[in-house]
Symmetry: C2
Subunit: 175 residues, 2 copies
DNA sequence: ATAAGTTTAGACCGAACGTTACAAACTAAC
DNA sequence: GTTAGTTTGTAACGTTCGGTCTAAACTTAT
């Protein structure tokens, strides 16, 4: 949560020791280093994201899956009093200032979301839920970019109502 | 440029002394402190933004003004080899972790862009360029959010082609 | 009960942080 | 040429940074 909210360099060892209630000896014994723990956190976030996307994919309707995604997005953005946003989106902003290993985790996580959108659109087209006019690649990018802006602006710029306007417009893409 | 690209805390005094080719004595004499210079940089960016918006507003057609905004956005994002993105958008992501003075500069700058969109839409409706179905408030937010995602994803996630897809869709709002 | 292995606390490390102090080096005015 | 005022380079400040080391405190197995 600390890394998620404050990022890597703004999170200090002192912060981590506070929140874990560990002393240095125990921390380094348990986690290796600050960077190791950060990678663990990123990896866990990636896994959680994949689980969520898989659960959505398992829904009966692909357009319902996308709609549910955005409903959850707004709900979690609104209810999070810490205003952490999305760990992956937060990282994406400054992606180039991290090393290759970290970059690849973040990019992979982001890509999994865009791919989820693309697959849902493709499936929706096959099933006749979504018009053949809707390009899976293009519209996956449009949905993804909407998620990005909701996550960014949800961290202290836009209120719930404004965020809902963004989500509504995104959903109109696949209707 | 340093603050723009790396943010406040990831920019060190050593970085600033390097790039200004000053020594500590001269730096503090010239700028007061790291934070003072940061505020100067933010303020200047706000002014530059306002000038740009005013120039666009002076164009003969409001819908052309919006279109030109997005053309410039893509162009500057693509041509910037530093991948700095937009200073204001970069700040917006972590807006709540800064003090009130800094927050207010950033919010004011962001608001001026959204207001520009709103005013252009209102003017376009009056002139019959833009349909009366297009809500100025809602669509200003949609255009603003598109600008945000282009700026975020332009910093190392999306290529030019993908960014253009986002811009195209935004412009369809006012067509 | 004792030995082996693990976990803990906390002193300590060198480096980097932003900032201050101050004297030397300049510049300008008369 | 002397003086007053500014600008410069540099040493030093206290703090925080992430990380290491070690010895004491615990667990566990026999």
């Amino acid at each position: 949560n600390l890394f998620w909210r404050k990022g890597y360099s703004d999170t200090s060892m002192a912060d981590l020791l506070d929140v874990t209630a560990l002393t240095k000896g125990s921390f380094y014994n348990a986690f290796g280093s600050k960077r190791d723990l950060f990678i663990q956190a990123l990896t866990r976030y990636e896994q959680d994201t994949r689980v969520m996307l898989q659960e959505l994919s398992a829904l009966d309707s692909p357009s319902t899956a996308i709609q549910t995604f955005f409903e959850g997005l707004i709900a979690s953005t609104t209810s999070d009093t810490d205003k952490k946003g999305c760990f992956t989106v937060n990282m994406l902003l400054c992606i180039t200032s991290y090393d290759e290993e970290i970059q690849s985790i973040v990019r992979r996580t982001a890509q999994s979301v865009e791919t989820f959108f693309k697959q849902m659109i493709e499936l929706g087209r096959v099933r006749g839920e979504i018009s053949e006019d809707v390009s899976p690649e293009k519209n996956a990018k449009l949905l993804f970019s909407t998620m990005v802006s909701i996550r960014v602006l949800g961290r202290g710029t836009y209120d719930t109502k404004s965020l809902e306007i963004l989500a509504e417009r995104a959903l109109r893409l696949i209707k």
